[in-house]
């Protein structure tokens, strides 16, 4: 089984958040506000933004510029998840590249922490991560 694209993993994780930690997803939407965040991870490009029903979701990158652009790789993101480096270290080492106005980057980091607070409380999240690690976690 080959690794799935970052965007697919992110979509699945948002579905788990919606089901198992809906309050965190609501808080994530509030934190993002009107800001869109574009991710490019190993060439897979997706946008996170608040959509219908004020719920944040994962979609395709549109014509409008995002508030923040994130460039990274699967290896770097797994390194963050596994505690091999912190966010600041990843930025310093160049494996996580954030671009945008400082206040928008700060807003993105706040939103990221809210997402993580929800993710670590979701019983369904380890399977999402296992699948993305390509260790054959169960399909959901």
């Amino acid at each position: 089984m080959s690794a799935e694209p970052f965007g697919e993993m992110l979509r699945r994780s948002f579905a788990v958040l919606e089901r198992e930690a809906p309050a965190h997803l609501t808080a994530l939407g509030v934190a993002l506000g009107a800001a869109a965040v574009d991710f490019s991870v190993d060439g897979d490009r997706v946008r996170v933004a608040v959509g219908a029903g004020a719920r944040p979701g994962v979609g395709t990158i549109g014509d409008s510029p995002p508030a923040v652009r994130v460039f990274s790789s699967r290896a770097a993101i797994l390194g963050l998840i596994d505690g091999q480096h912190g966010l600041a270290g990843a930025v310093r080492e160049g494996v996580l590249d954030l671009s945008g106005r400082p206040d928008e980057i700060a807003r993105f980091l706040d939103a990221l922490v809210i997402y993580l607070h929800g993710a670590v409380r979701c019983p369904g999240m380890p399977a999402i991560l296992a699948r993305w690690r390509d260790l054959g976690g169960p399909h959901v």
């Binding site: 808080a27 998840i81 596994d82 505690g83 922490v113 809210i114």
Partner: protein
């Protein structure tokens, strides 16, 4: 009765039951082993998850491990899909990781990425029970402890096999109801003698409010030979932490470090515990050497984190109980809860 028989009689699983609508029931088995080349902690815990998709009383399991090799500590938390908890027996298995009482010893097995153990822990002392410890206004937790065992077997850490032969080990078992993030914190530790012929070992603990402003209860428990010969309580016990531990405390699991990245250790560089009463006295001087920061999402606050700082170290204990004096050097651990 032998230590093993008393362990079987008192150390069995109590089960979570289904009578708690708030779903705060928890139970865990904890072992720590101090070997010549590695120190390990394995904690198998079951709890009721707040997951509304699960019916009440269904246990969710977690394997938590820590390993210290050459001063470097790492660990992880695995949420298990298959829990086999034999209520009434001392036998708990989570996805194949297991702590089971068999043939008078604890069999401890686990296999996680980068970490595997296969150990036999023979109890050297009779257990003690600290009942109904008040965690919060309504929550009570029981603490069953067997602080001195002899561990034999292996731990394979990052592919390197570490052998244990009658190495000093510790075991305890807790069960009760509480929510992570509620108004409590604990500080707890033990000192086991380096010399196998040394008859004394010690456990010390105190329970505080979450901000550590008020001590709710304290205890210092002394074993001489196989018996818990002295239990100092509350006002008899004093904790004197000094300095600040400056070594690394890696987050466990690693992902929690993104939420709680503060690496300033709220762990003392040195801890002195004294206890005195009725002509008996104990003094413990413990120095943390290496450890990790186990980070647990709060149940009472959707954006809160509780940090269990778990450090291995060495120390000395001196004292007198029942007219007999003791003095020994030993190894042990200290754990303190802080707001993460």
């Amino acid at each position: 009765m032998t230590p093993a028989l008393l362990l079987a009689r008192g150390g069995h699983l109590r089960g979570l039951g289904a009578g708690d609508p708030a779903r705060r029931s928890k139970e865990w088995l904890h072992v720590a082993v101090h070997g010549p080349t590695a120190e390990i902690v394995l904690n198998l815990n079951v709890f009721e998850d707040g997951d509304p998709w699960l019916p009440p009383g269904v246990p969710v399991g977690r394997t938590l491990w820590l390993a210290a090799v050459d001063g470097a500590v790492r660990g992880d938390v695995h949420r298990g899909a298959r829990v086999e908890a034999k209520e009434g027996h001392l036998s708990l298995a989570i996805d194949g990781d297991a702590i089971t009482l068999a043939d008078g010893a604890l069999r401890v097995r686990a296999a996680r990425p980068g970490f595997a153990v296969d150990l036999r822990l023979v109890p050297a002392v009779r257990p003690a029970l600290a009942p109904r410890i008040p965690f919060d206004t309504a929550d009570r937790v029981q603490w069953f402890l067997v602080p001195r065992l002899h561990a034999t077997g292996t731990a394979t850490i990052d592919g390197v096999v570490h052998a244990f032969a009658d190495s000093p080990a510790y075991h305890d078992h807790n069960w009760g109801r509480f929510a992570w993030g509620a108004d409590f914190a604990w500080e707890w530790g033990y000192l086991l003698p380096e010399a196998p012929e040394e008859p004394v070992c010690l456990v010390f603990a105190r329970l505080l409010d979450r901000r550590q402003h008020r001590v709710r209860s304290a205890g210092c428990f002394v074993w001489w030979g196989a018996d818990n010969v002295r239990s100092f309580q509350d006002a008899e016990v004093g904790f004197a932490p000094t300095g600040r531990f400056t070594g690394p405390l890696p987050p466990v699991p690693g992902v929690m470090g993104l939420i709680s990245p503060d690496r300033r250790a709220d762990v003392p560089a040195r801890l002195q515990v004294t206890a005195a009463g009725s002509g008996d006295a104990v003094s413990v001087d413990f120095t943390p050497a290496r450890g990790g920061r186990i980070l647990i999402p709060d149940e009472s606050d959707p954006f809160g984190v509780t940090a269990l700082h778990e450090v291995f170290g060495a120390g000395r204990a001196d004292g007198e109980t029942g007219g007999r004096r003791f003095s020994f050097a030993g190894r042990g651990a200290f754990e303190c809860i802080r707001v993460g």
